[in-house]
């Protein structure tokens, strides 16, 4: 595959209306010629065709626009039409003819359909640049939508949807509504697509106007083409609203789709099959019955229908038990159509082969007997050849290895360098994969080395190195032959491989020291790969033949450590040096240690990606072998798809609801470019998966660079305290707020006997106290990004309110945020959404919702939070302290009896006393203020003129804190006693009290 995702599009050539002088640039095939090139030689070579339409392409002379204007306003119909044709021809080659807008629109009112279509084409191109004038066209559209001829009605509604001007879309709604219910199916099928067009321009409008419901109704239309287009439109709209249940697929609607499948056009079948693939059957029986109705599609002449059917089958097969007869029947049915795809045109073959590559990895059994069809034909285009070769290696097995090898040998003599290299490499892969063939592979490789074709030799040496590793002490006899070719190696990979071989088998090569020494001369000109390998090889040599090679090893060590500025090389050099100087025995153990086995399969696609790609069979993603998010911009198509869970006889642990299905899975944050984001990758920031939704506990924050900052122990696991047996865990199943009786009535005796309920009397505030924003990350520390923020808690949800200010001179974008593990598992509940790039001096205010289901690690201080923020420039770290009261939950009100029991139960050493000074409030005000922050006063007592408030609060992780607050009228100093199972929190709870009461 040769494509670059990050290349920039070349800028558009500026087209000016008054561009009169034609650009007569010769077209030499290297420099982009001007699209304005007016002399198209073919018409010159065929003088007889001057009277045909091709002449429109040739007229470029001075004052053309002016002349066209005159012609467009001519009275003669024919002349008008000619003029419009000229305008369209100019538009095609890229000239700007927008200056003619009013004149062209004037031609719209005509009963000549051909002329009308041309004018419409012009409108679609230029309406956006001339929105005010485009309004002139509205009347004609509206009129045409009422035309008795269905073709005209459809044309009008189709064209109107392509004009992306807000004012026009307003006028479009009424005609569209009528057309969606038109009596003629041709108009309805056009209107169905028009809804998708309108949604692309103004999604809100479509929802408000109720078009989505009308569209859904069309799925039950009597005409199959209307159904197909409605499905296509709904699928597209649903893609941009992954959460909505727009395509409400259920057994009934699936049945309708399957019926329409038999009747609609080939394209319609594709839309329907692609939509079906998103459905999740409720059980294996339903899956099977859908498969049965889809399999006939495998005989369709259209390859895309076949591939889409294969997608549905591959996906639903996951749900079938392998013991089922039907399962093996289905497997057998899949092979022939896949093979047939290879007799299609080469471009389609390519698409098919890329898909087969995936299918072979997922279910090798389907095509295991079909090796021959992947043999390369001499005239295959190179892209087909390379793909076939790839599949051949995957299918190679003991049964067919002889044939495969004969083929590969043939390919190694072909012309195309890439192909030959791949073929040579494939021979090596075969040797590693099928042990029985290893010997023949090696001898084939030796034959190839004898050809002395430079790149063949180098490629062969690279693979032979792997063969040596797989089968040690078996084929070393060939080393002599390899050494003969030492001089011809000029590619780093081949040189490194050869050096590795010499070092590894130094004891068997008499002149190993000479060979290695010869490389040493140009040490600094070698690539890093070769340098590292050379260093290691010489150290190996020294360990094996210490007497003769002392000088050599010293030479390489000094080259590596003193003369090199590559840190990797220096580090490795120093390690060897230290090892050799301190403990040569240990050095031997380390350097000459037994090597781990190499794997048989290479280039396998990682299983989760493979499963996702199987869901995208037939699409671009399957061609690129990349998830859509890697090449699709924006939110579209980034919905993750996954295979249905296996519901086989033995593996039915997961129920379908818990497994993520095609439709409602999590959305990837659009702010993060999935490709080329090296920083994110390096730091293992795991920014990809979303931090929302229920299965969060399974998505822990990954350890990585962020973690290095923290360290510390997991001594405060979430929920541990309340769950401890001493607390009588079950009793603490928090009483839901508000269910407490308003009046507890009877006194309870004891010291706290005359407690009385306060619940009714306390006014509830809307949310807990929010501190003003403070600067967390100064701009000078973060390359111009300043972050200030605070935490708040409102009706049960915690959020981090941030102000991002761009104090740099460049635009910032691609923001993302990640928390390090912390004491209470605080984590972002949604990705950081900064909708537009932040331009210099701009500030944006963001409220980031948080939850407390992230990973837990005890921090010091307890409420310390380490944050990493990424933007397009860099990743920045800062830490901040959050006030503990954001963690006080709404149902933190303990029952009185429970309070008493708990208070007694908690040992006295856990009690902490604090003084809150300078607080002029009375008991009433205090408790109401505290209640706003979810500190609940359970009871109040007056003892010797002092008000005693008994309060409780609960943290998000289930820890209860009980408090006794002593308020003396007239004395601004309060005494706070706190009791808690986890005494570490007391200090922070006290601080929370202070902040709440004093603000």
């Amino acid at each position: 595959m040769l494509f670059s995702l990050e290349q920039e599009l070349p800028p558009v050539l500026p087209h000016r209306a008054e561009e009169k002088a034609p650009l007569l640039k010769p077209c030499d095939g290297t420099s982009p010629p001007s699209v304005l090139n007016p002399s198209l030689p073919s018409s010159a070579t065929n003088p007889g065709t001057n009277m045909t339409d091709s002449k429109y392409f040739t007229t470029t002379k001075k004052g053309e626009i002016f002349e066209l204007k005159a012609e467009l306003n001519s009275d003669k119909k024919e002349k008008k039409k000619e003029a419009v044709k000229k305008v369209i021809a100019s538009m095609t080659v890229g000239k700007d003819v927008s200056a003619l807008f009013p004149d062209v629109v004037n031609c719209m009112q005509t009963d000549n359909l051909e002329l009308k279509k041309l004018v419409y084409l012009y409108l679609m191109n230029y309406a956006k640049s001339q929105p005010d004038m485009a309004i002139m066209a509205v009347n004609t559209f509206v009129k045409d939508c009422e035309d008795p001829n269905p073709l005209i009605r459809a044309l009008a509604v189709r064209t109107m949807g392509c004009i992306r001007v807000d004012k026009i879309t307003e006028y479009l709604c009424e005609p569209l509504r009528k057309c969606l219910k038109d009596e003629d199916p041709y108009v309805r099928k056009t209107a169905a697509v028009c809804v998708a067009k309108l949604h692309d321009i103004n999604a809100q409008l479509v929802e408000d106007q109720g078009f989505l419901d009308t569209l859904k109704d069309l799925i039950s239309d009597s005409n199959p083409m209307v159904v197909a287009n409605a499905v296509a439109a709904l699928s597209e709209i649903a893609e941009s609203h992954p959460s909505s249940n727009l395509l409400d697929l259920n057994p009934q609607s699936i049945n309708k789709l399957l019926t329409a499948l038999n009747e609609c056009t080939e394209w319609g079948q594709i839309f329907i099959l692609d939509c079906l693939a998103n459905y999740m059957p409720k059980d294996d029986r339903e899956a099977q019955s859908i498969c049965e109705r889809v399999t006939p599609r495998l005989s369709h002449a259209n390859s895309a229908v076949v591939l889409s059917a294969v997608k549905v089958l591959m996906k639903f097969m996951e749900m079938l038990s392998k013991d089922l007869d039907y399962y093996s029947t289905l497997l057998k049915k899949l092979a022939p159509p896949l093979v047939t795809l290879l007799s299609a045109e080469p471009e389609l073959q390519y698409v098919a082969l890329r898909n087969i590559n995936l299918i072979v990895q997922k279910r090798p059994e389907i095509l295991k007997h079909e090796m021959k069809v992947f043999f390369v034909k001499y005239n295959d285009p190179i892209y087909v050849k390379l793909e076939k070769l790839d599949i051949m290696i995957r299918l190679a097995s003991q049964a067919n290895i002889a044939q495969v090898l004969a083929e590969l040998k043939e390919y190694a003599t072909e012309v195309d360098v890439d192909f030959v290299r791949k073929a040579v490499r494939a021979i090596g892969r075969c040797a590693i994969k099928v042990e029985q063939s290893a010997e023949r592979c090696v001898s084939t490789l030796l034959d190839l080395i004898q050809t002395k074709v430079n790149y063949v030799v180098q490629e062969a040496i690279v693979v032979i190195k792997d063969i040596f590793r797989k089968y040690p002490n078996k084929y070393e006899s060939v080393i002599a032959t390899l050494c003969e070719n030492l001089d011809s190696l000029d590619e780093p990979e081949a040189r490194a491989a050869m050096i590795w071989i010499v070092g590894e088998y130094a004891e068997r090569i008499d002149n190993a020291d000479e060979l290695l020494e010869s490389f040493l001369e140009g040490f600094h000109d070698e690539s890093t790969q070769v340098q590292l390998q050379l260093l290691t090889a010489i150290v190996k040599l020294f360990l094996k033949k210490p007497t003769e090679t002392q000088e050599l090893v010293q030479q390489v060590l000094s080259l590596a450590t003193q003369d090199s500025d590559n840190p990797d090389l220096r580090d490795r050099g120093y390690i060897y040096w230290r090892l050799l100087s301190t403990d040569p025995v240990a050095a031997k153990e380390v350097v000459l240690a037994e090597k781990p086995l190499i794997s048989e399969e290479t280039d396998l696609i990682e299983p989760t990606l493979l499963d996702e790609l199987i869901c995208y069979i037939g699409t671009l993603a399957s061609v690129y072998h990349k998830p859509p998010s890697a090449f699709v911009e924006g939110s579209r198509g980034v919905v993750h798809k996954s295979l249905p869970p296996r519901t086989g006889s033995s593996e039915s642990a997961e129920s379908p609801e818990t497994a993520p299905t095609g439709a409602p899975p999590s959305e990837q944050p659009a702010v993060i470019p999935a490709q080329g984001d090296l920083l994110g990758d390096l730091l293992n920031l795991d920014l990809g998966p979303p931090v929302s939704g229920p299965p969060l506990t399974t998505a822990p924050v990954q350890m990585g660079a962020v973690d290095l900052l923290g360290g510390g122990l997991d001594s405060l696991p979430r929920g541990d305290v309340s769950g401890s047996p001493a607390m009588g865990g079950a009793n603490f199943a928090a009483p839901p707020a508000g269910t407490m009786p308003a009046n507890l009535g009877a006194p309870l005796g004891g010291g706290l006997g005359d407690l009385f309920d306060l619940a009714g009397g306390v006014g509830t505030l809307s949310g807990s106290y929010v501190a003003p924003k403070a600067v967390w990350l100064p701009a000078m520390k973060a390359k111009g990004l300043e972050i200030s923020g605070t935490f708040s808690r409102q009706v049960g949800s915690i959020s981090m309110d941030l102000l991002l200010t761009n104090k740099a001179l460049q635009v910032m974008s691609d923001f993302a945020i990640q928390f390090n593990r912390n004491s209470f598992g605080l984590a972002p509940a949604a990705p950081l959404q900064v909708h537009a790039p932040l331009s210099p001096n701009q500030t944006v205010e963001i409220s980031l919702p948080l939850n407390t289901v992230g990973s837990v690690m005890k921090m010091d201080p307890l409420n310390n939070l380490q944050v990493a923020v990424k933007n397009n420039i860099d990743v920045f770290y800062f830490s901040t302290l959050y006030p503990l009261h954001i963690l006080f939950v709404e149902d933190g009100k303990m029952e009185r009896q429970m309070f008493l029991a708990t208070w007694k139960d908690i040992p006295n050493e856990n009690e902490a006393q604090f003084q809150i000074k300078d607080c002029p409030l009375n008991a009433e005000a205090v408790s109401s203020k505290l209640q706003g922050s979810n500190i609940f006063t359970i009871a109040k007592r007056n003892v010797e003129g002092q008000d005693m408030l008994y309060q409780s609060l609960k943290l998000t992780n289930g820890i209860w804190v009980l408090a006794e607050l002593r308020v003396q009228p007239g004395n601004p100093t309060f005494t706070l006693s706190l009791k808690c199972r986890a005494p570490e929190v007391s200090q922070h709870v006290y601080q929370a009290y202070e902040t709440i009461l004093k603000n």
């Binding site: 599009l9 091709s54 199916p185 597209e236 021959k372 004969a406 699709v632």
Partner: protein
Amino acid sequence: MIGGLFIYNHKGEVLISRVYRDDIGRNAVDAFRVNVIHARQQVRSPVTNIARTSFFHVKRSNIWLAAVTKQNVNAAMVFEFLYKMCDVMAAYFGKISEENIKNNFVLIYELLDEILDFGYPQNSETGALKTFITQQGIKSQLTKEEQSQITSQVTGQIGWRREGIKYRRNELFLDVLESVNLLMSPQGQVLSAHVSGRVVMKSYLSGMPECKFGMNDKIVIEKQGKGTADETGKSGKQSIAIDDCTFHQCVRLSKFDSERSISFIPPDGEFELMRYRTTKDIILPFRVIPLVREVGRTKLEVKVVIKSNFKPSLLAQKIEVRIPTPLNTSGVQVICMKGKAKYKASENAIVWKIKRMAGMKESQISAEIELLPTNDKKKWARPPISMNFEVPFAPSGLKVRYLKVFEPKLNYSDHDVIKWVRYIGRSGIYETRC
């Protein structure tokens, strides 16, 4: 979905440009030209991604057709559509050439508007399209019935046929066209061989005829033969095993899947009813026996024998054997017993042509190739010897057993239909390594 469709000439100048989606800008036109058409190296993939924009292209003679998208479209569909687009254009104005495209650009825009809506392919059957995209202009004069007939055909279940067709003489032609592919080792071992065949039908039938097509498909014959034991033995030899087949959209696939019967209402005129592939018991019409000997460093001796392997009463036609020669060939002397042979330096091959050859015959060519001495270490790749021919039978052994026609509404019966069947076997990629 498809965001835009461009057609370029060989120089990369735009002939047609139609944008369907807002995310495709004018710069996409230039990007494709610069990165693909003007790229220095050979095309390495029919799909190119430039700055997150994907380009699909196909080439017809020296015309480039490119579809552009920014989404994760169905890639197979895009290519199928591009081929279909070529077919439709060819059906309207013949060969796809720069000249024809320029002459018909208004028509092409009209077609593009009709068969691709917002990037979604719509009905693209030429039969249906020709009823209302005519370049005749004024449509409003059609009667109401005519209009609704058009729209119901374009959108209907049988979008490929209109009602009310009448012929005085009901007639149909069936062509079984096969291409036989072979890759043989120098020793005569078959490395791979398959037949890809097509059944092309030309129908001139009145009304909405219901057709049923039968051939000597092994599965069908065995199913039917179950009753009479001796017949199974007889027909078993004549039946063929079809590896896989695909059908024109008029064929009821579910019926084929359940009963393996091929029933359909055909489009009017010519269409491809089915395609199939077989790999077992293929009759290889010719055998090529090569003998290449290197005489020193500057001379090659080549001897090639071809043997025809079919009934002596049949005649093969248009036989052509292509024997590749090394790049450093300086001169060639050829002697052949039959036909004409010529060394074509520009093609690096000896081309041997024989007009006709009967079955069970043999012919031979021998050539001496003089080589220029070179220092090139690279060995000559020795491309395979390839062959072209045409034979009047189906190398797969396929036989048409029947094609029944029922038209209940009109008064003609199966017997009144005049039916013709013809078999043609052609060489596909028919290669022997040497």
